[in-house]
Symmetry: C2
Subunit: 149 residues, 2 copies
Amino acid sequence: MERNTRQRSAIRDAIAKADRPLLPQEVLDAAQQLVPAMSLGTVYRNLKALVEEGELQPVNLPGENPRFEVVGHQHHHHFQCRQCQRVFDVHACPGDLSHMAPQGFTVEDHDVTLYGRCKDCALPAAKATRRKSSEADTHNHTHTHRHVG
Amino acid sequence: MERNTRQRSAIRDAIAKADRPLLPQEVLDAAQQLVPAMSLGTVYRNLKALVEEGELQPVNLPGENPRFEVVGHQHHHHFQCRQCQRVFDVHACPGDLSHMAPQGFTVEDHDVTLYGRCKDCALPAAKATRRKSSEADTHNHTHTHRHVG
DNA sequence: GTAGCTGCAAATTCTTTGCAGTTGT
DNA sequence: ACAACTGCAAAGAATTTGCAGCTAC
């Protein structure tokens, strides 16, 4: 049976409060504000458990490490900002794309990822009424690149 | 200046002959038929060099390690077979998807991945005239899962 | 002859796992 | 009590890199 540890609550909370899918390290950072001694291993273990439990779902984007969000809206897609690298949900869907497949291929599902600028990182020219650029640059610049360097 | 080593030729050749994007390990497997002593490190170094040179391009699918293909067709998408895990090019495109983005977000590009059954792995019921199942099961079942297990 | 390349092994990054001690129920 | 959970550290997997020797030009 599942237990209600401080760590698990903090992890649940961090993801529930986020308005976007989080990386394990981001979950740790947020959860450590409640439980400072929490380890990354515990985050991974709980993410896995919560996914199996059906409470969370992994969000995989091309070339990115998996992020996690609460299971809510069924079928949806994602947007990644090229400036701050953060990922956001997109509730729209292009619909049936089976016509795109080559002869003889059967399409069962699809993934769509949009790239561009998020609201906070909008380009100067793109917004007449814009926040000071210093604000935009103050964001979570999570430069996530898969693996080594 | 770039040199023409046996290894580099074998790598180039392996990718050019493949009809789909290959994983580094698949490139090694193919290239070792020409240069048996080739190491995986050499494959990675050459893939990187050939990408920087503009001869190859990485193909990133959600939750998958990067594959590589020759730069040819400009904008295109990919299909991954849920049976054999192989990835194929899709030359169609859904077109402009900027209407999908939330208010204030600017869309500059998109990635689309289709999932289903490739021609070789078509479901029995889906094809009247079908190859013997033994043939389909003889394929490259590259079970690529990111990271450990 | 020498710069670029190669194989090998060690290092790095992300993720999982073993273990001994802690804690929720 | 005792099973589930935690922190820590080691293991694992994909990728990069340092180094000494090899080789194309």
